[in-house]
């Protein structure tokens, strides 16, 4: 299958390892991965902060970059939900019929990585090996907006050597919320403190999630506390094999 990788602006800029890991996993499964260089940002931060007008050209840019792929795969449940759930409304609000058509064409074929692997391709064992104690945080947009269900957990359970441990109160928000973390920094930090305590309580060596934005938030607090718990995007765990360990 010819797959377009939407790496997201955050992962592109700050977490290139995640992007490389997505490529590695998909290629290992025998798929051809393209990175259309015309891609930029999906516009979610602008949209969610009230700058909807500014988000419209970003939606146009996205659809132009990814038209024609059989599947568009992204390592962010949050960005995937922006495209799938909010692009149609954004296009109709902007009164742009061309954009609405392009969205109707590309949005349904845009998948978050774990959903693409586990539900679209039907693969849970991607040949990964990761002999560590890992806990999984289901991010809010993945859990409640995109409804990825247990796809990430099914993938993690199939990783050889991986010891999956429960995260207490796992479904609680980490307090990131994009610009919320800046506009209401103290509240965001208070919510994050409870998430970090739960992560430490789990006894895991690695906190895994399918979204780098939330990992940046929780990981930033874990690092500040010198907790010794590493954070890793799901893709990076799935990319590990006996050879690469």
């Amino acid at each position: 299958m010819r797959i377009g990788l939407f790496v997201t602006c955050l992962t592109d800029t700050l977490y290139p390892d995640t992007g490389r890991a997505v490529v590695a996993v998909l290629e290992r499964l025998g798929h051809q991965v393209d990175f259309p260089a015309a891609q930029a940002c999906c516009g979610q931060m602008h949209f969610n902060t009230g700058y909807r007008r500014e988000a419209v050209p970003m939606a146009r840019g996205f659809t132009a970059a990814f038209g024609g792929y059989e599947a568009v795969v992204t390592p962010s449940a949050s960005c995937a939900s922006m495209i799938r759930e909010y692009y149609p409304a954004l296009a109709s609000e902007a009164g742009d019929a061309g954009l609405a058509r392009a969205v109707a064409e590309v949005a349904p074929r845009t998948y978050e990585l774990s959903v693409f692997l586990a539900d679209v391709l039907g693969v849970t064992d991607v040949g990964a090996y990761f002999p560590h104690k890992v806990t999984y945080h289901p991010t809010c947009h993945g859990l409640r907006m995109l409804k990825v269900g247990d796809a990430p957990l099914r993938l993690l359970r199939a990783v050889r050597g991986l010891n999956l441990t429960d995260l207490p109160d796992a479904e609680a928000c980490c307090g990131f919320g994009g610009t919320f973390a800046v506009k209401n920094a103290e509240v965001s930090a208070a919510i994050c403190a409870d998430k970090v305590a739960a992560v430490r309580q789990s006894g895991a060596e690695v906190l895994c999630a399918a979204d780098n934005s939330c990992l940046m938030h929780i990981g930033g607090a874990l690092q500040r506390q010198r907790s010794g718990v590493a954070v890793m995007h799901l893709a990076e765990i799935l990319a590990r094999t006996e050879e690469t360990r």
């Binding site: 800029t13 990175f35 949209f47 700058y51 809010c140 973390a181 506009k183 965001s188 930090a189 607090a221």
Partner: protein, 495 residues
Amino acid sequence: MTAPGQPGQLAAGEPHPGMPTYLGMPSFPDAARIAVADSQLRANLTHATHTIRAKRAGAVAELADWEQLRQAAKAIKDHTLAHLDTYLLRLEENVTRAGGQVHWAQDAGEANAIVAGLVRAAGADSVVKVKSMATQETGLNEALAADGISALETDLAELIVQLGHDRPSHILVPAIHRNRAEIREIFRTEMPDAPAGLTDDPPALAAAARSHLRQAFLSAQVGVSGANFAIAETGSLVVVESEGNGRMCVTLPRTLISVVGVEKILPSWRDLEVFLALLPRSSTAERMNPYTSTWTGITPGDGPENFHLVLLDNGRTSALADPTGRQALRCIRCSACLNVCPVYERVGGHAYGSPYPGPIGAIISPQLRGIADPVDASLPFASTLCGACYEVCPVAINIPEALVHLRAKVVDAKREKNFSPERVAFTLSGRVLRSPRLLAAAQRAASASRRVVARKGRIRLLPPPLSGWTETRDAPVPPPESFRAWWARTRGNRS
């Protein structure tokens, strides 16, 4: 504490047309910053919200058709709101036919004036009250007090708030922010007939409140209530409560005045069935509600001799004009969204600057009052958009969708007005983030800066407005090479 110089801000002392008693409160970020530092408050709230959260989930899981009920409720409310004019006239007709009198109030001031006039006409100078969100919204107690009429709250938690000269902080449990010791102290100092040696044992506190209220019930001439539902087909009102005090207020006094938001209407009794299944489970995690009182006009020799229904608009019809925002009018005030909200759990209800706290407050207050005031303009941003509220809402209000919609309204309203550093930042970042070329250039700059900004591979301090982040969290250090640059370097020939 409100930010100075914001357009549309009301001068101190000028009556707020919507919710008068909340005038001059600080905007959400300021109020929340103070609240979140109160560790006792946070501990109380965490305990209370987690307990009810788990119970609600259990009560809801018992019903296999919960989702169908929820969708039915949504459909009934949407239908009713779409034909609000028809059903309101039908309600008025049937209330009148049953011996009641209907009054229409455009805003809080009108509603309060109508009630005050009716109390005077009944020859009374005091009223007993059923717990009611509508009269909290209009600031009725304060308005009556200004008119020399005293209002006694009879719901236990509402009484605690009233005696403590306080504001409610939760829709269902207005005194959720108070613990037992504080309640005992309030009773001891503010309740003249508090028994000597009152302890903070909950039954003792409840007994003290009961004897305090009993005399008032027996002597009250006028009762004031809201209503959870108004049934258009018969002109009946429905009040759902847990203590039975509400039932005394609506049956014992000779005159009953009910102040009801126009969106509380349901077409028929059949529709009510759906809501009586959803509300108790969502609200108190009970299968059935303890006291459900209904009445239709007046019945000679039984209950009040005079019944007045005050139908309140106070911003509801303007909310109705907004296709995305109006879903907030489906709200049945169950408070499930408060109990699951990560933000409410940390800051409590007062920070929301209205009797409607939590997620529903963040979308209903800016619609009822408008967004000219900085408090209201800050409310749609008081959320992480985690979506837990939408998941539990029994009438399926998509609160995150309404929040981002209202955020856009706030941003758009400010576009033509004052200079805003935030807008400049978003306009510029928008240009960069939609252009692969500019994004690549910014990434190269970030990568080049990594040795400058990071100390020992960590970023522990950023300048404002990002300094709030680095108070408690490290910031990510830019990598030596972006993904885009890596791809171009290693596979550039392929796309």
